[in-house]
């Protein structure tokens, strides 16, 4: 790690044959390359999952539609859900974390670079396994057969009797394998953040992105492992004839629900906490103010992490639990709203009185604030068990969680793309296209997911492949599907903007946003060793201290 040996790496880059350069990407252990691999992989699956969603929406646009068969429809919603959670959001957020954490804490790589590569390839192979089911789901004969048991795969649907062939096994193995990748990444995040910080960066001086990813990684450790265990049990059931979830032999289908949601609910926070992390980095920079209430933000995140492990059974109110259990999970679910609300106030407090610049990353974050608040409010509605009995498994629930996943998490991911694109590529994106992307996607999002609440309240259940006319659902389903067109247009503009800017974008320079965290102190894109000299920090905004030696932050912190 001695700094004088490093400059030698610069020779010969870009002049080598393309095969060698691709080979570099396959064997790399560099956190920046792996981060970009994660992100590209997630983008690919975002397109695939988006196509599946589009198929679902085309099927539902009018009553009695015959665009796809009921069997294909079941596969589409199963693959859409599984893909988006496990092979879009998880790798996307891991990718940004892998890329950014070492840069932001002033380290030259992750704590375990080879584990980092291992984790990425496990995730990648998990996705391939899942999609191989289209070819291999029925065994060696006949057409393919993707999993069709829904993304939470309730027993006894997953038993041999109801899921013949191998489709469910591909689902199980894909998630198991990518789960090992997730656990590896989480181990790496925790070790990196705790053990690799540059001198002076105490825990209280870490960028919030590092803090929030630390909490997220801790949650991955404790939440993904139960899923791994449950998948092992399901495999034992299917391959060895065991009876964990086999009610014929005294096994319990409800036990699977508990095991799945012990993973499944913290998973939502695993996804949203890195989204919070992006917002906590982007809003201060474009408000030209330091984050408001840093310690409270950290405390609220840790609090969310704890409470989120005691809310899982709010997915199971309609299963028929005792009134004590219903009350407990209603209250804990409402309690999560408190630290989350604190965070929203802190972000607004950061913007308050700031010189706000509405660049693309900031626009997406402002969209996030509004949409995440709405998603939280419908979440509070659904947490009340009597209300939940009425609306569980309706399109109201689908609208609610898409408000979180798309309206909050995907919006911040887009914001993060624009914010860190100059750092990752060295080039500036096109602001006009970015704004087109934002407005198209915003309109599409609200057309789709605002109006999706209404058929839910009118009684439309999720996962039905078609419906009768005359129930008052037609117009809402039509509007919902029209929104998809705007979303697709927005994503096309986004992809076009990325590709175009990669080739023709202006040179960004190392610090295009006049930002304050360490990743902006090195060149864009950063050299393999990140920092020629390991930085030393004295405050939460080390670059502010350098730019304003007359009024540094460390005097006040």
């Amino acid at each position: 790690m001695a700094s004088e040996t490093i400059a030698l790496n610069l020779v010969d880059r870009g002049t080598r044959p393309i095969g060698d350069r691709l080979h570099d990407w396959v064997v790399t252990v560099d956190h920046k390359k792996l981060g970009i691999l994660y992100i590209l992989y997630a983008l690919l699956f975002l397109v695939i999952g988006g196509i599946e969603a589009t198929i679902i929406r085309i099927q539902l646009v009018v009553p009695h539609n015959h665009f796809v068969s009921p069997q294909v429809f079941n596969r589409m919603f199963t693959m859409h859900g599984t893909t988006m959670i496990f092979f879009v959001f998880m790798p996307m957020l891991f990718g940004f974390g892998t890329y950014l954490i070492p840069l932001m804490i002033g380290a030259r790589d992750m704590a375990f670079p080879r584990l980092n590569a291992f984790s990425f390839w496990m995730t990648a192979f998990g996705g391939l396994l899942l999609y191989f089911s289209f070819i291999g789901g029925n065994g060696l004969y006949g057409a393919g057969n993707a999993p069709d048991v829904g993304w939470f795969a309730y027993a006894p649907l997953t038993s041999r009797a109801f899921s013949p062939g191998h489709s469910t096994d591909f689902w199980t193995l894909g998630l198991l394998v990518s789960g090992f990748g997730s656990i590896g990444t989480a181990v790496n995040f925790i070790a990196t953040i705790l053990c690799m910080r540059c001198p002076g960066m105490t825990l209280g001086k870490m960028p919030l992105l590092a803090w929030l990813n630390l909490v997220m990684a801790g949650m991955v450790i404790l939440a993904v492992s139960p899923l791994t265990a449950a998948q092992i049990m399901l495999s034992i059931d299917r391959y060895l004839g065991a009876h964990f979830f086999d009610s014929q032999a005294g096994g319990s289908a409800v036990l699977w629900m508990h095991f799945f949601w012990i993973f499944g609910h913290p998973e939502v926070y695993i996804l949203v906490i890195p989204a919070f992390a992006f917002v906590s980095e982007i809003i201060p920079v474009f408000s030209r103010k330091p984050i408001f209430g840093y310690p409270v933000m950290v405390a609220a995140t840790v609090c969310i992490g704890f409470v989120s492990f005691s809310v899982w059974a709010h997915h199971m109110f309609t299963v028929g639990m005792t009134s004590y259990a219903n009350s407990f999970f209603t209250i804990t679910t409402m309690v999560v709203g408190v630290p989350t609300g604190i965070k929203i106030f802190n972000w607004i407090g950061t913007m308050w009185g700031g010189k706000i610049q509405f660049r693309a990353p900031m626009l997406f974050c402002v969209g996030f604030l509004f949409q995440f608040l709405t998603a939280g409010l419908t979440g509070i509605m659904l947490s009340a068990s009597p209300f939940n009995w009425q609306l569980s498994n309706s399109y109201f629930v689908v609208a609610h969680f898409h408000y979180v996943l798309v309206g909050a998490i995907l919006f911040t991911i887009f914001g993060a793309f624009y914010y860190w694109f100059p750092k990752m590529t060295g080039r500036m994106y096109n602001e006009t296209f970015a704004k087109w992307h934002f407005w198209l996607f915003l309109i599409g999002f609200h057309l789709t997911f605002d109006f999706m609440h209404i058929p839910g309240m009118l009684g439309m259940p999720r996962r039905i492949y078609t419906y009768e006319p005359g129930r008052g659902w037609e117009i809402w389903n039509l509007i919902v599907t029209i929104g998809v067109i705007f979303q697709i247009a927005g994503v096309l503009v986004f992809v076009f903007n990325l590709l175009r800017s990669l080739v023709k974008g202006e040179t960004a320079g190392s610090d295009p946003w006049d930002a304050w965290t360490l990743e902006w102190s090195t060149s864009s894109p950063p050299p393999e060793y990140n920092f020629a000299k390991i930085p030393v920090v004295k405050s939460r905004r080390p670059l502010w201290d350098i730019k304003h030696p007359e009024d540094p932050d460390w005097k006040y912190e």
Partner: protein
């Protein structure tokens, strides 16, 4: 990471962070503990829920000798690590070998127990819920012992090749954390399966 870059006066001269190996191993242990927790919960949930025999009280015998072997291997691996820290590579190799032997005896004991249950008592993983949960939980633990033995064996090979030096004592110690964890899990498995569940 403590390169010569520390120049500014206000920073303490020593910037000490926890060892990444230890932190990584503790995190991995936390993940493993969560996996075992789910299996233990399933075991406890299904106690006395089997619809048909054989039942635990009819077929299970306390594996006292096995337990003593596995738990003493925690002591021997500790002695091995301490020996290496004190630069006694020979003593390290001896204690490391004893650890492997004790772990292997445990595995053989489990295998014999399973053979008795399967061929004499007719209990397999698909017989009833007891079989399902018993073989899964004990099997998951035995799998971890096997993984540990493989790593121990690799360490043994390096010792024979003369590659193990006192500066590797931290690595040995970090591995020993895993081994202690596997032993601790056995205490829980033993309690749940052979005491509470019987």
């Amino acid at each position: 990471m403590s390169s010569g870059a520390i120049a500014r006066p206000l920073i303490k001269p020593e910037w000490a962070l926890p060892s990444r190996g230890r932190v990584g191993m503790f995190t991995l242990i936390a993940a493993e503990a969560a996996i075992f927790t789910i299996f233990v919960v399933a075991y406890i949930f299904y106690i006395d829920k089997s619809l048909s025999g054989p039942m635990p009280k009819d077929v299970l015998e306390l594996p006292i000798f096995n337990t003593v072997c596995l738990l003493s291997s925690s002591v021997t691996i500790h002695l091995a690590v301490r020996a290496l820290r004190n630069a006694k590579v020979g003593a390290f190799g001896l204690w490391w070998f004893v650890t492997i032997a004790l772990g292997a005896i445990f595995l053989v004991g489990t295998a014999r127990e399973w053979q008795r249950l399967i061929f004499e008592k007719g209990l397999t993983i698909s017989t009833n819920l007891f079989g399902t949960t018993y073989y899964s939980l004990v099997g998951l633990h035995a799998f971890h012992v096997t993984a540990g033995l493989i790593f121990l064996a690799i360490g043994m090979i390096f010792t024979f090749l003369g590659k193990v030096k006192p500066e590797h004592s931290e690595r040995a110690e970090i591995f020993s954390l895993y081994w202690h964890f596997v032993d601790a899990v056995w205490v829980i498995v033993f309690t749940v399966v052979y005491v509470v569940g019987r």
